[in-house]
């Protein structure tokens, strides 16, 4: 079954990506995590996102485009990346979520991926 592991990080953690002292442990932990997923033979894909302030949110109101700077939700923890993972069940997905570095300092959400319904 496919699950999305959604990685939420604080502003500080986003800062660690480029901080001279913190960048190495930050990326080191993620590289190792990605490596462990791969070594486990799991079918994964995913992406790392730029910080929330680089986002732009679009909605149409009465046919008018409304464009807003920043992410959709203004929260302390922002979506920083995601991993799609194919494992037998939720428990296995939760095991991998707990190993995600962000679980120690931010939050990691696990959501089952809904297979798209067949369209005629």
């Amino acid at each position: 079954m496919q699950y999305a592991i959604l990685i939420y990080e604080t502003e500080q953690a986003f800062g660690n990506r480029t901080d001279a002292a913190q960048a190495e442990p930050y990326w080191g932990a993620y590289q190792a995590y990605a490596g462990a997923l791969k070594q486990a033979g799991l079918d994964t894909s995913g992406g790392i996102l730029q910080p929330g302030h680089t986002g732009t949110t679009v909605r149409l109101k009465q046919g008018q485009r409304q464009v807003q700077d920043g992410p959709y939700a203004d929260t302390k923890e922002q979506l920083g990346g995601f991993i799609l993972i194919d494992v037998p069940d939720l428990d296995a997905a939760l095991d991998w979520a707990a190993r995600c570095p962000a679980a120690s300092y931010g939050a990691v959400e696990v959501r089952p991926v809904l297979p798209a319904p067949a369209m005629a």
Binding site: E24, A29, Q31, A32, A34, Q39, L94, A98, R99, A103
Partner: protein, 409 residues
Amino acid sequence: MTTARRGVEIAARTAYGRLLAYLVSRSRDVMAAEDALGDAFVAALRTWPEQGMPPNPEAWLLLAARRKLIDAARRAKTRDKVVHWLETDDCTTASAAPEELTFPDERLKLLFVCAHPAIDASVHTPLMLQTILGLNAHQIGSAFLVSPTTMGQRLVRAKAKIRDAGIAFEIPEAAELPARLQAVLEAIYAVYTLGWDAVAGGDARHRGFTAEALWLARLCVDLMPEEPEAKGLLALMLFCEARAEARRTTAGAYVPLSEQDTELWSQGMVHEAEQYLRQAAAAQHIGRFQLEAAIQSAHMQRSRGQAPDWEAIVLLYEGLLQVAPTLGARVSQAAAIAAAQGFAASLQALETIPPDAVKNYQPYWALKAHLLHSLNQGTAAKTAYQRAIGLSEDAAVREFLLGRSRQLP
């Protein structure tokens, strides 16, 4: 917080398991007893602040819960026998003044009900946590890393089975005892391990688990003083607990056992553990927990300024592997071999473990990295460190391993 509210909390904390076990022993229905006890606590929260704390809060709660249980059983009209039983029960007859009421402690029986072989082994521990400690499915689910919904369903299924399959509410006969005692002790140890892993960083709620596990083990020892393995488990956990303060620096960094400051080990707990271990050994019936406690005891040698007897530790692991061949014990034995016979022998021992079994087992990769590092096999060590780091759940351990890995050229 008002005094009455605190009174209810204290009663909930100290009496929940005792009251629930007693009610279940009469009704045989865990779910109904939980509901009734929950209602009794709500009623206490409502009436105690107005009328003051009753002289015997436990008795008050028991009588209230018993009434709820009778009402519920009457409404269901299918459990006449239960109603009769509840109404005529010696301990709770109306003639007994509530402040004098005492009732037998049925917690140990309830532990054995939870460990019944007809109940899925994966639910043994959660079920004990819920019935004896009153934790909810959400808390238990997070401890076992399954979703609260899943855990809730498993618990409900197990409780329905206790009720519908008519599982006997008793400590099993001698022939059955070893298997079920083992499940009870293993469950208690699992609770301890959850708290132990959560010592830093992790979920603060889990930290209380170590105290709960020690309490459950003491209960087993009190109620079954003849069982050496119960004492072995208590000794094992006391040894581990004695080192709790030394496992992290004040800044929260991980400190491996070999580098711990023995001054920070609690000598009082070590002493108590040694006593239980000695008493257990007197029964001359060795088991998994006594062996594990003996291994811990050997490590404690360091606090007396002596090097641990590593050959003895390797042998104790050999014994442990005979009775409980776990992955953890194999990896730990390999670690002891490193100290007793050198890194190469240790690596050899480690490599006899089938690769499939250790694919996602963090301690294996952490040890392997350390051994390869010590044997100057830099490239292979780096790869192993990467695996270990990627499989770590604990941020402090991850930091520690990253630090080690950085020392490689």
